[in-house]
């Protein structure tokens, strides 16, 4: 740890999200293998890597859903897991995680109540952000896949969290909706929200402020899309990922 601290810059005291030597093992598999980073408030970070690279486990460690085998995860300066901080985190899981038997409005109001939101207006706001305000009374199970995804995002936004974790938020949605989602993310970040999202789609990674390449449970590179392409000397991110991760992939 001392070596790593010496290598990186001085820790940012105002980091919204911080990982310090995070390790999570499942039996002999090291799903997260010594990850350290500081993420600043009001920026969009993309965790990029192939399926099974450890992105979801990393997000689960950061949200306190799983306890690290070693190391430490902090959100808003508080070590996770912490119930108090959960009230200030929005989490959109890979599966939609909504109640198909409830209506759109009932789903959003349920999560608002669980988060302790009292103002009715916040629920309406979250639903209009994702353009579902006119479907409030539709039963969630009857929605299209894209609408369900939007409802899922609304449920993660309903308490206006300063930190938002989105696990593969744009998987399985059409290009039009993807553009809408990114517009939402941008405006949230502009309002000071820190967004950490995971993706294995390289072409949307350029929309993030900063990228973290995840491979075999390690963060193998970090920087803006342009920086990473320049460092690898390749024209696109996909090739940059392959070239920057060549040595790591071999060790697994």
């Amino acid at each position: 740890m001392a070596v790593q601290a010496g290598q990186s810059m001085a820790p940012d005291p105002g980091a919204a999200v911080r990982a310090s030597d995070l390790v999570k093992t499942f039996g002999s598999i090291r799903a997260v293998d010594g990850v350290s980073f500081d993420l600043a408030a009001g920026r969009i970070y993309g965790l990029l890597g192939p399926n099974g690279s450890g992105k979801t486990t990393l997000i689960r460690l950061l949200t306190g859903m799983a306890r690290p085998t070693a190391g430490r995860a902090e959100v808003l300066g508080v070590p996770m897991p912490s119930r108090a901080v959960l009230a200030r985190i929005g989490y959109m899981t890979q599966s939609d995680g909504i109640y198909p038997g409830l209506t759109v409005g009932e789903n959003a109001r349920f999560f608002a109540a669980v988060y302790g939101v009292r103002e009715r207006g916040q629920v309406d706001d979250a639903l209009s952000v994702v353009d579902l305000a006119d479907r409030v009374d539709a039963v969630a199970g009857t929605l299209s896949g894209g609408q369900r995804r939007r409802l899922s995002l609304a449920c993660a936004l309903v308490h206006r969290p300063p930190v938002l974790f989105l696990d593969e938020p744009t998987v399985g949605i059409d290009p039009l909706l993807r553009v809408e989602f990114w517009a939402h993310f941008r405006s949230l970040a502009a309002g000071g929200t820190t967004i950490v999202l995971s993706s294995h789609v390289m072409d949307e990674a350029d929309r993030c402020d900063e990228l973290l390449f995840v491979r075999s449970g390690k963060v193998i590179a970090r920087g803006t899309g342009r920086e990473l392409r320049d460092r690898a000397g390749t024209p696109d991110l996909e090739q940059a990922f392959l070239s920057l991760g060549a040595d790591v992939g071999a060790t697994r």
Partner: protein
């Protein structure tokens, strides 16, 4: 019709089931174990030795009959003891020191018709019937051994009065308690499983909600429906509403009209507390299931043994000795006994037996609710 496609589907079915070890066990092992258990209960089931007390107001002739009765009972491992009067006999039945009391008539003489009354506890009608039958046989043997004695008429009564002649009455307490328990378990188990598999539990755990709050909310929600279910079930069971004849329709009654000695409200409380235990059990067991089929697969493990051992099907007193300790471990045993206390004995909240039943049922509900909330996987409680 293509044979090849049929074979392809056949192979797919076999491959899938072969890999699902629980289904294989359900198909191949569980029926063997269950028939074995049932055969064991039926074959090794004991006709428990009759411990009888005899009241003899008839003087020396009665003593002769009592001695003959005692000899007949002792031949089957039982016993007969003389007690002073009917009050002493009732006390002996109530405290369990005797299972049957035989009340001889005031006059016993050769050639005189006599009526013998056999008194039992009354809480376990089916189990007591075998005992009454055994005493009846012993009584016949006893009178036959005394020359000139007329074969007696045997009347049956219980501590709580003459047993109802409604053939459903002996089963009602157990069946009502069991059904409420069973359906609530299935419903809760499956809906909590949906919460786990649908990803909503994961999302819920990422909110400030506490695990106890989740289980508490489920208890309230399913408790509401369990309460409704029990209310309807009991109203149907105990109620009997005459619908008057209307035009060509003859009059008929709605409801089973089962006899109930105690307060229907108490019966309601017993079943609701038992059902809340089933809600907790459903949440807890859903941890070990990944599909709805697997929740159903728990039935032979969780529900069937309770069904066999709680006295619904086989009287507890007739179960083999080895299984007796298990009886006390089954939550349903207490639900069934509580229902019998209320329905047959007319117990009120002051009755010790009913207090025990309610206390155990409450403890079971609290216990399973606690471990259910502990099995919700999360790092922050």
């Amino acid at each position: 019709m293509s044979g090849r496609r049929v074979v392809a589907i056949f192979r797919r079915v076999v491959q899938e089931i072969r890999r699902d070890h629980r289904s294989v066990a359900l198909l191949l092992v569980v029926p063997v174990v269950m028939t074995g258990l049932i055969a064991f209960i039926v074959r090794e089931g004991q006709s428990p030795a009759v411990g009888a007390v005899v009241v003899n107001p008839a003087g020396p002739p009665g003593l002769v009959v009592a001695a003959a009765l005692g000899a007949a009972l002792e031949a089957d491992g039982g016993s007969a003891t003389l007690v002073a009067d009917e009050a002493a006999a009732r006390a002996a039945i109530e405290d369990g020191s005797a299972s049957v009391a035989v009340l001889l008539p005031a006059e016993i003489a050769p050639g005189v018709a006599m009526t013998v009354t056999i008194l039992t506890n009354g809480l376990d009608p089916a189990g007591e019937a075998t005992q009454v039958a055994a005493v009846g046989r012993a009584m016949l043997a006893a009178t036959a051994s005394v020359t000139g004695m007329v074969t007696p008429t045997i009347e049956r009564t219980t501590l709580y009065g003459v047993p109802s002649d409604d053939p459903m009455a002996p089963f009602a307490p157990a069946i009502l308690g069991f059904l409420a328990y069973f359906f609530v378990y299935i419903l809760t188990g499956i809906s909590f499983l949906r919460e786990r598999t649908g990803g909503t539990l994961e999302r819920l755990m990422a909110t400030p909600v506490a695990r106890g709050e989740v289980v508490g909310g489920y208890l309230l929600g399913f408790g509401l429906f369990a309460t409704l279910q029990v209310a309807i079930l009991l109203a149907w069971g105990f109620g009997s509403v005459e619908i008057p004849a209307l035009g060509p329709l003859p009059s008929f009654s709605v409801g089973l009209g089962l006899p109930i000695a105690g307060s229907p409200l108490l019966a309601f409380i017993v079943v609701v507390v038992a059902a809340l235990g089933a809600v907790s059990l459903g949440i807890f067991l859903s941890t070990f299931a990944r599909t709805e089929l697997q929740v159903v697969q728990f039935i032979p493990i969780v529900i069937v043994p309770q069904f066999l051992l709680c006295g619904v099907l086989f009287p507890i007193s007739s179960l083999p000795e080895i299984l007796q300790p298990l009886v006390g471990l089954m939550p349903l045993t207490y639900a069934v006994d509580g229902m019998r206390q209320v329905l047959i004995a007319g117990a009120d909240l002051g009755a010790a037996a009913l207090q025990t039943d309610l206390a155990v049922l409450t403890a079971v509900a609290v216990f399973f609710a606690t471990i259910a909330s502990l099995t919700i996987r999360r790092e922050v409680a």
